[in-house]
Amino acid sequence: MKRILLLRGAELIVFAFLATIPLLVVNPYALGLLTLLAIYGILLIGLDVTVGYVGQVNLAHVAFLGLGAYAAGLVVTKLGLGMAPALLAAMAVGLLLGGLLALPALRLEGPQFALATLSFAALSTTALNELESLTGGAQGLSLARPPILGHVLTPPLFYWLCMALLALVWMLMRNLLASQWGRAFEALRDSPIATDAMGVGTYRHKVAAFALGSGLGGLAGGLYAFNFQYLQPQSFTYDLMIILLLGVVLGGRKSLWGAFVGATVIVLLPNLLSNRLLFQVFSGLGFAGALAAGVRGLVKKTTRPFQAMAPVAAMGLLVVGGLFVENTEDWRKAIFALMLFSVVVGLPEGIMGFLASFLAKLFRVPHAPLPEPADIEAILPPRATDGSPLLVLDDLKRYFGGVKAVDGLSMTIRSGAIHGLIGPNGSGKSTVVNVISGLYTPSSGRMLLRGAVLPTGSLFQVAQSGVARTFQNLQLFGELTALENVMVALKGVYRSPLPLVLLGLARLEERRAQADALCLLDRIGLKDQARTKAKDLTYGAQRFLEIARALARKPDLLILDEPAAGLAHPDVVQLIEIIKRVHRRGISILLIEHHMDVVSELCDVVTVLDGGKVIAEGTPDEVKRHPKVVEAYLGQPPQPDLSGGAAPLPA
């Protein structure tokens, strides 16, 4: 309760204060700046979706600002429509083109994504410049602010409109980003493969995130057009894009307040640069801050020397430069560069990232309370198992060039079984898992799940059809908490359509998801660390979390890919206990493992692979004695006089 009061109270106070300003201040210049603050606020909230939540360097946002501005301008000047349709059109242009650009950019990561967006931005500037008959080209486009309901929009009225829209966007985005959507965006950033494998779908979430962010960019563009009432293609270039990035990074990523702080900085920058005294005060403060943080980091040894000293050097250069340079305005780009450099290196969390934890301590803001864990009987009701074939692999092959990683594998996993899959390194176990789970497309062969053909080559579709997996090389969503890792994968909980989520009417299902996820965390003994980020958990806990996350899919078949790899002995004991508990719920398990003791204790049936082919199948004891298995592991033919007892296998 206290948390809600404090957080909502802060928002209410700020917006109420901003709303009353036109009544108190009559200075048109100040009002103009505040209007810009609202517009940039919307713009940066949009940019934060891609840069902060999805974690991609997006250089196209400025293009959506420009395209939105021109769309609004053209709707008013060429079609003669009013402001509301113009703003809608501006937003629609952003949504549509953003979605379109996301389609080819979907498969791209990092530099390629940045390049695709950069090209799009350059292309749109070219188009705005060259389509002269429509946009007026370099001459620019003038427009008048059309009246709303007969009222001429005076500066204060327009300011209120912008602020109202900012408040609306703020509320809707807060609801959206706190929901499954926001979690999915972040999951996407940390591991696209796992996002698909957990049935969340990278495809639609990436398009949605990009379209949404760009739509807000378009809306901000519409307001921009009505604010300046004059548009030029040169206004929407790379330079502005860098300033926008400065805003998001400096303000703090993944934070509405961060976007607000960033917008404030952007609006104040020109004044900062034109007033020498102000500039010197601020650069001096920046230098002192960087020095304090750097020395603290060095003494506490939390940062590397370079990371601690580089911001100090950059801010120092700013201070010294400020004393010698004649006109700071001439050096604005270098000044932006130095500021951005210091922030990216020295304060990667941004101002709000830093302030948030500080303020939370100061006001003793408690965490939102978690609900009681749900009942396991409700989440994973025990299923009847009958030993019928669950997953049938028939002559499955997967070749990589000339390498026959899986070469004609046939096996049947029966309902209710714990089926072991073992084999020496390079025998093709992991490839089998990757083919079943849809990461690789089989070269040939059939896979049947309960008699129906299992989709191939799509992690997402396989996950949807009831197969869940864990990863040998952990694919957790590192920046999400343990609880959120499980929540994001929960199946069958999130039913509310997007509009309800936006309006904040999906809280009930959110509580339910928390309760369900807590229950699953409880099963693996991580309930007390629900709020810990996955990347900060111990290695063993991370392995268990993978299992809990896969269980959230409520699968028919759970594939565990070397769950004991690298675990210490006590953890292995716990792991065996966890797997037994999962099995008791009637979930069939395919277990890929190296530890023979784990396999012996758990498995009903074991299939042994070598060179991509099955060399033996049977109970653990039968398999251990099988001459071909012994040969595959020990590399020598069994001696006839020694074959009386069970040949030991390496653990």
Partner: protein, 292 residues
């Protein structure tokens, strides 16, 4: 439209395209060792060109200026590596993209203030008189660009294949961890690649300046097309960049002729977005298998 004009446009476009190929080659060098590219590479081209111009104004002869310019470019490349790329790669984040943009911005601003915002001619002893070859006019200047580009790419490839240091470079490109275990310092190899990449960028600046003149914005269009070439060919495509570069150069020369000069950049950008959509690894790049 008559064939000789089309031929003329194609040939001179393709020769310009070799400059894009050279800058793209610089991206390949750093991508090979560190999977990163310098988003501020255009500023390296521009600042190196200005520096070379200053050397000549100080009385350094053209042929002596070239090694000076290359060294300066290599130095800038090392600065980018140390101040931006290395730190971000240590943190395993995408922050290096931002940092390399930021450092480029700083260079840009510095150049604006040191050398001014105007475009300046770049003198060269190579004549700009056309020679008539197979019905097409080619200037010695354009030919010198082709020779310079192919020569430095050949030299770097020779260095990579024939010297011990070059083989270390190839080893780190192939498998960074394995190379480190064999006692090769990956950090130094990445530095080397950024140095080479900077020198390559400087040569691109020196070669192209007599044709385009020197100014702070000289590289902004150039760099976009170099990105396009690198991505369309594939960031690990080797000499694929030469083919794609010449193709793109010819294409945009024709586009600016038929659609108007404002659309000059468009084909490259469209090509780039299409290539990314269809074949993210590039036309000549190798497809990689995802492992989990």
């Amino acid at each position: 439209m008559n064939a000789s004009i089309i031929g003329q446009m194609t040939v001179s476009g393709a020769l310009m395209g070799l400059v894009y190929a050279l800058i793209a080659y610089g991206f390949q060098l750093t991508y090979a060792t560190s999977k990163s590219i310098n988003f501020g590479q255009g500023e390296l081209v521009m600042v190196s060109a200005f520096f070379s111009l200053t050397l000549m104004n100080l009385g350094v002869p053209y042929w002596l200026m070239i090694p000076g310019g290359l060294l300066f470019g290599a130095l800038l490349g090392l600065i980018v590596e140390r101040a931006g790329v290395r730190l971000a790669l240590e943190q395993k984040s995408e922050g290096w993209i931002l940092l390399s943009i930021i450092i480029g911005l700083f260079f840009f601003s510095a150049a604006e203030n040191i050398w001014g915002r105007d475009d300046r001619p770049f003198p060269t002893p190579i004549s700009a008189d056309p020679i008539h070859v197979l019905g097409v006019d080619v200037t010695r200047l354009e030919l010198s660009v082709a020779v310079g580009v192919l020569a430095i790419m050949g030299l770097v490839e020779l260095f990579k294949r024939r010297t011990l240091l070059g083989k270390a470079f190839e080893a780190v490109s192939a498998d960074r961890d394995a190379a480190e275990l064999m006692g090769i310092s990956a950090t130094r190899t990445v530095m080397l690649s950024y140095g080479l990449s900077g020198a390559v960028a400087a040569l691109a600046g020196i070669l192209v300046s007599p044709i385009t003149t020197v100014g702070p914005t000289m590289a902004s269009a150039l760099i976009l097309k170099a990105f396009a070439v690198a991505v369309v060919a594939g960031l690990d495509s080797g000499f694929g960049v030469v083919l794609v570069g010449m193709f793109l150069g010819a294409l945009e020369s024709l586009a600016s002729f038929y659609l108007g000069s404002g659309w000059r950049e468009a084909p490259g950008l469209v090509l780039l977005i299409l290539a990314l959509a269809m074949r993210p690894t590039g036309v000549f790049g190798k497809a990689t298998i995802r492992k989990v």
